[in-house]
Subunit: 460 residues, 2 copies
């Protein structure tokens, strides 16, 4: 049966024009500030991938995948296991997202690096490429997924799609397609294959399958490009066709978000990096509590109660009063605030099963309350502490760290990298890897990063 | 961010109840006529998989996949290449659908065997199982995908989803999950993983990516079951949740289609087998023209013109007047009728590039006309032939072969199997394979079928 339908008059050739832009782009066309943000995106991703490498989700995935893997020619970052590049892409996409600690394109809530960098670095271990070429392809992939996300957000996300998976597969296809030098038609096919694998439901949040989404997007995007390279054809208008990605999976299709100002407006420059290992809406509260702690020191033991005034989304998404597991703790602003006050912590160590069930944390948590205030900005919070002697202290955060207005500094990215990576591969290997990652633009073989990440790795 | 939403009151626990049924079912619970149809489904699928094995689509897929494949422990039917079981599932899903000649669940237009049998037979080459157990799992998988398809059809299909891919992944997960003995909770996780990989757009019809869909559904469904087995968790209500498969991907959700009369009403018994290698709507016209040919013999040279009276869908879906390629020929009722009149052929040989451009075929094709008649049943046609001497002949088909009312006989399945398989692996190997396939219920190791299919295979 035919699936072909004419596109409505006036619809631009979105898939072809986007593919042509990817093909034509040269590294020197990317402005220096965008390249710098691409490097920060990559460094942050490496830290997250290593940081998540020992999670039980990764162990489970490896148990299933190892018996099926081809030649072990690509690294699972931060682990001793090696897999074929497609399975390594899957695993690194899982590890880098499993702690909910990765990067965020705030306009779409896409976590851009997972699908793209996971595919690209695994490929680079088999088809050597320089750090410069790698970063060019990485930035192109991030740009493609974020633009496609913009074109359908928020309607697509509201319908229930996990946009990191659904848009991410296009980013991975673009990055790998760029790296292997697909021509325009084959890149259109790769986008077609990506569109026909675009998937991932928000229903899976709170389960291992959430981090499966960026992993599978990386693997599927890579396969889309490799199949197209081998002559496997597909629709050449998969994004804009009446039965293409945007119309089937969204009520909104804004083609100008994809095609407008290509090469001038850079979504890849708008990437942000989570300072804390949980949903971004909790971040202001954590920062506010950390600032209180810096001021009161040991008086934290004298806290009688805490009151948070937050944006309504905070309670809607993270209003869990009695989390039982580390994962549930990520969805509890009360737990997160308690740990920040007691330990100053917002790293993955704040969201372990042990920490969530720690008696002191639970005791303080139950004395933390919150009010939703629709006049409160998403990046703001007011924390009011009442001490046992009746005195009070107030801390207001106008724009939290990690928000668009207060991006993480390089030093803060270093700190985040170190804190999580050292737990997995130790401090010495972490320091070496971090320095190497910043030196990516100078490397003649970017795969050095992948190999370095597993030097300090031990079997689970 | 949380994706969790409560299910509306009154929503049954669809995923859990379906999984529990799969887990509890024993082979002896399946009525004899349903088991028999399961065997016919399998025999027909083996013939189609071998028949499609040398298609250029398969060559392209193999070029991309071989470098990534794990241990070559599973067969690409009808070919000498062996792959790891997940990639073999992908390839056999492609081969068995690539000629548009496979089976059809007429209520949903799902082609059920591709996703399910491709996954299951590749698995069986690595985890030995008897023919009886294989057929039980096959029937369970077909039942699951068709019931899930019924629950969302036609709204889901109308939105642009290729339902063989989107529903097929659940069938593959169910079949593999049954075969490896998942418990209820793990099968629910497998359904969750399947839901998060459910994909495939109708926009891809007419390209290689169409047959990629059942292949990827087979591979993804297998991976869903294997990941769940390894402890990779997922939503346990992925089908019915507000952000689950049915609500995100369809405007219709009829849970009774999934849960009603489980074990009593068998969708797997309603499978049908295409007598001709093209879209099912053309089948009445081909049969009508074949019947004319049987009556007129050499007088076919005296035909002045032909007039077809058909259901409107025939011209809507297959109204292509001047096809240029074999694939386009499948979407031309005019080409199909011409070849049936000249050669009596509706097999894959009728839809080659050569046949589509054959001078005699083109000459007759241009003298064939058609009228859409909304009072004409989808399985009916009237063919009127006018000869050069002015005389006429009329052939009416009330219900075409292959329709619900006129199922293919076993002998017709044999003929279909032989015609396509012999072109790929030769007549002797075909005869041996066909006999072995019918003997599946007696086999202690069903993988014998896979091995036998490649005995006569040669490299492309």
């Amino acid at each position: 049966m035919s699936g072909h339908q004419e596109t409505p008059p006036g619809t631009p050739e979105v898939t072809r024009l986007l593919a042509q832009w990817v093909v034509d782009l040269e590294g020197k066309d990317i402005p220096a500030d965008v390249r710098r943000e691409g490097l920060r995106t990559f460094v942050n991703w490496v830290g997250c991938a290593v940081g998540g490498a020992r999670h039980e989700t990764v162990d489970a995935a490896l148990r299933a995948v190892i018996p099926l893997s081809g030649k072990p020619s690509a690294t699972v970052l931060g682990r001793p296991e090696r897999l074929d590049p497609a399975h390594a892409a899957l695993l690194n996409g899982i590890t880098s997202h499993v702690l909910d600690y990765d990067d965020t394109h705030l306009k779409t809530i896409i976590h851009p690096a997972g699908p793209v960098a996971s595919a690209l670095l695994a490929l680079a271990e088999n088809r050597p490429m320089s750090g410069e070429d790698f970063l060019t392809a990485l930035i192109v992939g991030v740009e493609v997924e974020c633009r496609i996300g913009n074109a359908v957000y928020p309607h697509h996300y509201d319908r229930g799609w996990h946009i990191t998976g659904t848009a991410g597969v296009f980013g991975a296809a673009a990055a790998v397609g760029k790296a292997i030098g697909l021509d325009c038609q084959r890149l259109q096919w790769a986008f077609g294959l990506a569109a026909s694998q675009s998937s991932g439901l928000r229903e899976m949040f709170g389960t291992m399958t959430k981090s499966f989404h960026p992993g599978r997007a990386a693997q599927n995007g890579m396969m889309s490009a490799l199949l197209a390279e081998a002559g496997f054809d597909s629709s050449e208008r998969a994004i804009e066709a009446p039965r293409g990605f945007a119309s089937v999976m969204s009520d909104k299709q804004d083609w100008s978000e994809i095609l407008g100002d290509l090469g001038q407006r850079w979504e890849a420059a708008l990437n942000s990096y989570k300072p804390f290992a949980c949903g971004i809406v909790i971040h202001p509260a954590i920062e506010g509590c950390q600032k209180i702690r810096e001021q009161i020191g040991a008086r934290v033991a004298d806290i009688a109660s805490v009151h948070l005034t937050t944006h309504p989304l905070v309670l809607e998404l993270t209003g869990k009063r009695t989390p039982r597991t580390g994962l549930e703790g990520k969805f509890s602003v009360f737990h997160s605030a308690a740990v920040a006050l007691l330990h100053g912590d917002g790293a993955p160590t704040a969201f372990t099963d042990e920490m969530v069930n720690d008696a002191a944390v639970v005791d303080l948590r139950d004395r933390i309350h919150a009010t939703a205030d629709s006049s409160c900005h998403e990046a703001s919070v007011t924390v009011e502490v009442t001490f046992k002697d009746g005195s009070t202290m107030t801390q207001h955060i106008e724009r939290a760290i990690g928000s668009r207005d207060v991006p993480l500094t390089d030093a803060q990215i270093d700190h985040k990298f170190t804190v999580q990576s050292a737990l997995v591969i130790g401090e010495a290997a972490t320091e070496k890897l971090l320095q190497l990652a910043w030196r990516s633009p100078e490397l003649s073989d970017i795969a050095e990063i992948a190999r370095c990440s597993s030097e300090g790795a031990v079997s689970a």
